[in-house]
Amino acid sequence: MDDLIQLWASTGLSNFQSGQAVMMIVGFGLLYLAIKKEFEPLLLLPIGFGAVLSNIPVAGIAEEGGLLSYLYLGIKSGIFPLLIFMGVGAMTDFGPMLANPKTLLLGAAAQFGIFGTLFGAIALNLLPGINFTFRDAAAIAIIGGADGPTSIYVASKLAPELLGAIAVAAYSYMALVPLIQPPIMRALTTEDERLIEMAQLRHVSRLEKILFPGILLILTAMLLPSAAPLIGMFCLGNLIRECGVVERLSKTAQNELINVVTIFLGLSVGSKLSADQFLRPETLGILALGAVAFSFGTASGVLMAKLMNVISPLNKINPLIGAAGVSAVPMSARVANKVGQESNPHNFLLMHAMGPNVAGVIGSAVAAGVLLALVQ
């Protein structure tokens, strides 16, 4: 009898708190989005599963001494997001950007998604029930960078208690890019603009590609060292890829290493999806602001492209590729291509959109550096 009482007391049923139940449902919801809707499944699947695991009562998987508490050290120390960034660097071809460097300005413009959202988050404080500090606002704003590891890195430094919501919002909106962006792109462009065809990209030599990560790193070191961990690891991955003498490291960085870290990172992020940190009005604010951030970023990328066409009317760019400046590689470049082909099925914008797309990755890492340097 004693045993049975002890046993009942050890079941989940007798210990479930309503918040845990809700968060497990949230976790299963993320799994649904990941598997059925294919919303960034590589990350949202482990995040969702981590959310489920960490909200199982009694088991304490995310508490001190539990598996997820150990894995979370990889985020706290910055190791996981930086290794992911190295892997992303090893998967990135800067060729299209180097062939047409002015597309970097589109990647710059799209970062208005970040800074505009920061202002918006502070403005939301005027609403009752929502109370973001400056650090919180900066961490939320980085969602507008449309870059998962950057968001996690910045959030873990500025507002670790919001990490779960921020990561979920970042990856969800990255998955929603094909829904969020097209209406904005169509609204801000004329049919004529969408029909613009761009000149074929020039050949970029291997030497230029090898030199680029070094140049980027030097510039970062000189101007914005707070962005150096992110950009540095990104450049390391890209150099490993392009230098051509360490193929086996390149293969490992692009595959096994990034896969292992992805599983661990996702589970760790999921361990931050606890009821007391997630079931708050602020989370709704974060989700709303994330959508705003993506829309702002898309719009400013497109508008920047239009502005550039006004300034230099000879060598016009199709403003649709401005939307790819938010990063979300390669989803937003594909969206630009697809919207372009709605107007002219023979207009291939994909390669041209990869320029602003990878520029957006650099842009959001730079913006992250600004936030880390200026927000205390």
């Binding site: 920061l118 202002f119 692009q254």
Partner: protein, 79 residues
């Protein structure tokens, strides 16, 4: 020292302007240096001796691609 919500608006506006400024400055500088490098490289190696794909990096790896296709075919072939 509590700060009222409204008091944070001005600093966040300032941060927005500074931040966008730095991002633009940084990337514009990069545009300039990339152009410079390209000219430098081309003056050293006038003929691109080794034509490589300038294409997109979406496809991670050719070997992987082959593997993926093969796996897909294999799966389709299954009864």
């Amino acid at each position: 020292m509590e700060t009222s919500p409204a008091e944070l608006l001005l600093p966040s506006l300032k941060l927005m302007i500074t931040g966008m400024g730095i991002v633009f400055l940084f990337l514009a500088l990069l545009v300039w240096i990339i152009g410079l490098t390209a000219r430098l490289v081309q003056s050293v190696n006038p003929q691109p001796n080794q034509p490589r794909r300038t294409g997109l990096a979406v496809e991670p790896d050719e070997a992987e691609l082959v593997a993926v296709i093969a796996a897909a075919l294999q799966r389709q072939r299954r009864p």
